[in-house]
Each structure stands twice: as C-alpha cells, then as structure tokens.
C-alpha cells in the first residue's frame, strides 16, 4: 500500500484515547514508546514550559488542578449558554465564554484554549504514537464520536483533528465502531445486537442487525452528559461528607476525585476498599472503608439514568421491524461496574456479552472502518443512522421535522420556500436538531439564508435540500427551480447567533463570576430541589409509608429534618443544602421504588 493511503482509527474518549490500524487484515491497538496503549485524555499547562499531555498531565493535575483539563470532550461544540450552572461548578478548571459565545477554558489571563484546541493536543499525541509505531507519516484518520453527538459536536471533533494535522476520512459512532469489532469475527451470524456503550462521560445504546456481512444500525439513543465521571463526582461528595471535610480547595477536590475513581475501579473486583488520604490537609490524614454495597447505592441513580434510554432505543428498533435483542454487548470502562451488569440482567432479562474489551473495541472498530476506506478490509458492509431529528423552526416557534431520527445515512430531504412579500431577496431559516416540539427546546445548529431572485410575493421558488452525510454532518443546498442553479448554503454557527450585547454580557459574567454569585445560583437551584422534595416525602410517606421498616422511616425523617434545617440557614450555605438534598434523595430510594411498584401493581 502507498504510504500516503494509510488511514488510522482513533477513539477520542472522555477519559482515555487510543489509536489503531488494520495490519495484515487484523485491527490492532498501537502503543506509544513506553508500551502504553491508553492515553489519558488530559492536558495540563505547567506554570513554566510546554503543555503536558496524557499521563504526565494527569500527574500534574493533582498539583495544578485549575491548569489541568480532563474530560474536555463534554464541552466540545457547545455554547457557553448551554451549560448548566452545576456543570460549571462541578468542573475543576474554569470555563468562560469566548467572544462568539463559545466555551473556552481559562487556564490564565493569556491562555484560553477552546475544547477543540485541547482535543487537538491529544489527537496530535496519538498521531505521533501511530507514526512511531508504524514508522511512517500519518495524515488521515477515522475518528469516533458518541452516537448521540449532534452536528456541532461532530464538527468540533473534525476541527480538532484538522488542527492536529489529520484529515478526517470518516466520523464514526462509537457503539457502531464497537459493533464492527464484534461483527468482523461473526460475518455469518444473523442476529439483532444491542451495544451498551457506557464510557467516562457519555452513554449510547445502539441496536444493530447483522446478517450476511451486513451490519445495519436500526436505532440509537444516548446522553452526551452521562458517564463514569458522574459516579466519581457523587462518590467524592459522599466521601467528603462522611469524613466531614467541609469546603474543599481545588487541590483537595482533585485529590478526592482521583481517590474516588480508584475506589470505584477497585470495587469492580473487590468487595471492599480502603480510601486513603494521607496528609490531606496539612497534617490531617483520613481513611475510609468503602464497601461495594455502599458504592452501588451511590452509583445507582447514575446507572438508572441509562434504563429509559435503552427502553427508547429498543422500542424504536422494534417499531422498525427489528427482532428481539439476541446479544447485549457491553463496551466502555463504566460497564466494568458489576452493578451495571446486574441491572441490565434485571431490567431486560439479557445476559451481557462480555466478549469485547471495554476500552479497546471502539478503537478496533475505528481501525476496521479505516481499513474499509483504504481497502485493507472488504468483507463487511456498514450502514448507520442519524441519532437526532433535523428540522427547521416554523411559525409559532415550533419544530418542523425534515429528517426524522434513526434515518439511514446518508440521507436527504427537501422543502420548497417562496417569498412572503414583494421584492423579498432572502429568507433566514433556523436549523434545529432534537426531538422536542418547541424549537427553543432543541439544539440550534445555526441559520441558513435562502436567496430569492426578487419579484412579486409568492413568485420565488427555491428548493432547499437538507442532507446528512455519512459523518452525520449536515449540508444544505439551495436550488432555484426557475434557473436550476444550485449552491451550497453556509450554516452560520449557532454560537454566533446571539446578539452582540448578549455575548458581551455573557463574556463579562463568565469572566468575573464572583464566588458569591455562583454560590447564590447554586443555592437557588438547591432550594428549589428542597422545596420539591420535602412535600414529596410527606406525600410518599402517606401513600406507601406503612411498607417501610421503622428504621427506614426514621432515616428518611431525620434526612428530611436536615434539609429543613439547611433550608432555614440564613447564611445560604449552598453546599450544605445540596449535601442534605443528596442524603434525602438517597434515603428515599426505597420509598421511590415502592411508589413505582405500587403504580405497576395497580395497573395489573
């Protein structure tokens, strides 16, 4: 093969990234000069010298957490206004708005990289790993993204790769990649498979049909803000409460999260684990014995968020004629958690298929797709879908779906537009992605301006064709039906589609975010939650309280009393109120389960 033709496969993960290639017909994962295959997706800016990437950056993270960026994938392609206050608060580094309303990471006054610039550093390191292993220059790649990434997030990923000197030959959905790795060895099988992909920061569930070398995705659903990181955070908060650590500084927070992650990983194998925090605060040292049972109670709300997503994808696959699920393939580091496997058995009655390496199957699939593109693999045919409906905003602020979700890609659909008034020369269309009926509840991808030739009202006839290509990216083409002339319409970035004053205000707010302001916002959020929770506890106790044991009821009442107490605190300690809410949430888990059971019993 010509050296220029080589294409590598890259899994750009939230917590780890990998690179692979097809070698003599088989996909392999490439290792760096030290033999490491997993590259932590982490970049750190030391106070002096060049930025560090990977393992070195992770180590620096405990010393300079505010200058160390991990899990930046969560912010790819998103506008600052799209971030929830809790997301900003829970991120150890500082996020600010750029002058177009985009998210930037504020390392210091001068250094404010965009998420794609940070990802580009990780991708450049992977490219170097490939060049080192293959002993040749590498310029082309297949890069994976969560299936549920929208157009903007995919575009940001492509831009990051370009910054790293890589031409993106295909953007591939992560669960689809994992299915490719699974399917390559099973070309003769006919089966309906579901890929449950639960990573560090994202969750996807895809249903595929395999037959005679055909691998066709029929439905996909996901959440791009749900992953193992959420469990680490919940566990770190629990440890802080149990150890009575009070308010944490950035270094303490970072250390605690690292220990929480270690504990979570250890408890996938062991039944108990000792969390050690030596010299945590000056001379203070702490130890905490954590059991798997306790971890599972903390992780349960996060794991349970994956269930409705699975049910939705299964229902949509069934509506499209897919048979019942024959195999449930697990990929992503978070599927190592025994609770995840147990819950999948409980919810769906399916024995999880563990044949795939949780960390490596996505990159192996990316390598296979790269092999398909450059002719190194031939025996498999892949067909994917678009995860989100594409539409335009219509009169009254409604979303008019043009391309429904789960349409096979590439796909196209058209609409005809005309001038509403005499002499109108153009019309702006707001392009949306999502499943909600109101336009404002969906992602705004941007605007396209449809040009008219002028003339009396209703005389113009411009056909606009929306296409989604194999990368899941949108292209918009306008055709003047009078002249037959086509031209590609530029999609103006959604982040730009905010008026100047709003951007200025946003930039100002994000840069000067005073602690008090942030505390007040978090307090308000927590207060609203308490005000919902306390009457809900009363109502639930009245409905099914008699089914609780005396101890369970006492725990709930004590936790509710602590919420009331924190709510009455004049100092508005947001952290204390959040912790009290979380404790009450946890204490009422059984109560919530009893209510749901009662609802189903009543229906039966």
């Amino acid at each position: 093969m010509d050296r220029e033709d080589l294409i590598i496969g890259i899994d750009l993960g939230t917590t780890h990234s990998l690179v692979g290639v097809v070698d003599t017909g088989f996909p392999i994962v490439l290792a760096d000069g030290r033999g490491a295959r997993l590259l932590p997706s982490c970049v750190s800016w030391p106070l002096q010298g060049d930025p560090l990437v990977g393992e070195e950056a992770m180590r620096a993270g405990t010393l300079v957490p505010e200058r160390t960026v991990a899990s930046v994938k969560r912010f790819m392609g998103r506008a600052y206004t799209d971030l929830a206050p809790a997301e900003i608060e829970d991120t150890p580094y500082r996020l600010v708005a750029g002058d177009r309303g985009e998210v930037l990471v504020a390392i210091d006054e001068e250094t404010r990289p965009a998420p794609e610039e940070i990802s580009a550093r990780i991708l450049r390191r992977l490219r170097e790993t490939a060049e080192f292993a293959l002993e040749q220059p590498v310029r082309r790649a297949v890069v994976t993204v969560p299936a549920y990434f929208n157009h903007s997030q995919r575009e940001a990923t492509r831009k990051a790769a370009e910054m790293a000197g890589l031409a993106v030959e295909r953007i591939l959905n992560e669960p689809t990649a994992a299915a490719l790795a699974y399917g390559l060895d099973r070309l003769d099988e006919a089966a309906t498979v579901a890929v449950y992909d639960f990573g560090g920061g994202t969750f996807d569930l895809s249903v595929l049909q395999m037959r005679e070398g055909f691998l066709e995705v029929v439905a996909t659903a996901g959440d791009t803000r749900l992953g193992g990181d959420d469990i680490d955070l919940a566990l770190a908060r629990h440890l802080a409460d149990e150890l009575g650590l009070g308010a944490l500084d950035a270094i303490e927070e970072s250390t605690l999260r690292a220990r929480a992650r270690e504990a979570k990983e250890a408890l996938s194998e062991a039944e108990s684990h000792t969390v050690r925090l030596p010299f945590f605060r000056g001379g203070e040292s702490h130890e905490f014995e954590l059991t798997r049972d306790r971890l599972e109670r903390i992780a349960l709300p996060v794991v349970e968020r994956t269930a409705p997503i699975c049910r939705r994808a299964f229902a949509e696959a069934a509506a499209k004629g897919a048979g019942s699920i024959d195999r449930l393939i697990l990929v992503g580091g978070s599927t190592r958690i025994p609770l995840v496997r147990a819950k999948l058995r409980e919810w769906f009655g399916l024995e999880p298929d563990l044949s795939q390496h949780p960390d490596e199957s996505v990159v192996l699939g990316a390598a296979i797709q790269a092999g398909l593109l450059c002719g190194r693999v031939r025996q498999i045919l892949l067909v994917d879908v678009t995860p989100l409906s594409l539409g335009i905003e219509t009169f009254g602020g409604l979303m008019n779906v043009i391309i429904p979700r789960n349409s096979t890609i590439p796909t196209k659909a058209g609409e005809l537009f005309t001038n509403a008034v005499d002499g109108q020369r153009s019309m702006a269309i707001r392009v949306l992605q999502g499943e909600r009926e109101l336009a404002k509840d969906n992602w705004l991808l941007g605007e396209v301006v449809v040009p008219f030739a002028g003339g009396p009202k209703g005389s113009a006839r411009v056909g606009v064709q929306f296409s989604i290509n194999r990368d899941g990216l949108l292209e918009v083409l306008a055709r003047d039906t009078a002249t037959g002339e086509d031209h590609v319409l530029e999609i103006r970035d959604a982040a730009v589609d905010v008026d100047d004053e709003a951007v200025e205000r946003m930039v100002g707010e994000s840069v000067d975010f005073a602690f008090e302001d942030m505390n007040e916002r978090v307090w308000t959020e927590a207060r609203l939650k308490s005000e919902e929770l306390l009457p809900a506890v009363d109502a639930a106790l009245a409905a099914v309280g008699e089914k609780l044991s005396g101890d369970e009821r006492a725990d709930i009442e004590a936790a509710a009393a602590r919420v009331s107490e924190a709510l009455g605190d004049e100092a508005h300690d947001a952290r204390a109120l959040k912790a009290a809410n979380a404790a009450l949430d946890e204490a009422t888990q059984t109560l919530a389960a009893l209510l749901v059971e009662a609802a189903f019993d009543g229906a039966g």
């Binding site: 031939r378 409905a543 949430d585 009422t588 888990q589 209510l595 609802a599």
Partner: protein, 185 residues
C-alpha cells in the same frame, strides 16, 4: 422528485412482498465496491427511497404522484375518523400535561409520585394506538383494490384513502412519541 420504485429497481406497485424493499436496497448496496457504498448522493437517494417505500402511506402517496400526477388530495374525513379525533386530543393533551410535570420534577421521589399517572397514561395511549392501527389496516387491506381501479384510470378511492391515512399516520406518530416519552419517565 425521486422515483423510489425505479431507484430500487422495484415494480411500480402498491403491493410489495414483506422484505422486498429491504432486499432490493441490500442488493444495490452490496453491488457497490469495497463496503463503502456509492457516492453520497446516490446512496442518499437510495436510502430515501427505501424509507418511502417501507412506509405504506408514503408508498401510496408516491404511487399516486407517479400514476395520477394531476389528481387533488382527498380532504373529506370519514365519521369514524372524526370519532377517533375527538378521543385523540384529550389523551394527548393529558399525557403532555403529565410529561410537563414530570419534566419539572428534579428528584426521584417527586417523579415516583407521578408513576401511577404515567402507567395510566401509557395504557390510554396504547388503547388509542390500537384503534388507530385497526382503522389504518382497513385501508391497507384494500391496496389491491386501489391498484385494480387505478389500472382502469380510477384513482378516487385511493385518493380518499390517502387523505384518511395521512391523518391516521400523524396520530400514530404522535401516540408513539408520547409512548416513548412515557418510557423515559
């Protein structure tokens, strides 16, 4: 406008064997080189055609567009559909109100308090969906009659059926969307 029948190499008929559309689509995809398939535009037209012909209502619409391009759409609504319409509105509105309350609930307990209503709403939507599908099947079962009449140049019944089926299809989609949303509660 895409002619989905010729794009997939299928006869221009309303009555297609189950699996015929998928089989034709797969055959074309397989004939292309290297697993990568045709260029974007050809592949997009092929995928669009598959989606059109797999949906019996869209298939009827496209068949009429090709066979009877000057015919107008049937707009009259049968009394049975009017009765169904009177039931559909309240069920969907009630489900939307419940989903809105569920969306605002920020705690597991508050959401659990709505579980009973969610189960009831699910049963109501499912019952409605069954009624819609029964009416829809009534029209789909007559496709061979429309085809025969069409061969003699009479498209009036097919046009009338398309008008009713478009309503039924829309309500079916709305019910399915609510059921999916309820599954997520």
């Amino acid at each position: 406008m895409t002619d989905p029948f010729s794009t997939l190499g299928l006869p221009e008929t309303l009555i297609l064997e189950p699996g015929a559309v998928d089989a034709a689509w797969q055959k074309l995809a397989r004939e292309e080189a290297g697993g990568e398939g045709a260029n974007e535009s050809v592949a997009a037209a092929r995928n669009e055609s598959r989606a059109l012909l797999s949906d019996p209502v869209l298939r009827l619409e496209r068949w009429l567009d090709l066979r009877d391009p000057t015919g107008g759409a049937g707009r009259a609504i049968d009394p049975a559909l009017m009765d169904l319409f009177a039931k559909t509105g309240p069920v969907l509105a009630g489900t939307d109100a419940l989903l809105a309350r569920h969306g605002k609930a920020s705690t597991a307990l508050a959401r659990a308090l709505l579980a009973k209503e969610a189960v009831e709403a699910q049963l109501a939507v499912q019952a409605l969906l069954q009624e819609i599908q029964a009416l829809k099947s009534g029209f789909l079962d007559r496709y061979s009659e429309y085809e025969t009449a069409g061969a003699a140049g009479d498209f009036s019944e097919a046009r009338r059926a398309l008008g009713q089926l478009k309503f039924l299809r829309r309500w079916e989609e709305q019910c399915r969307a609510r059921l999916l949303a309820l599954l997520e509660t």
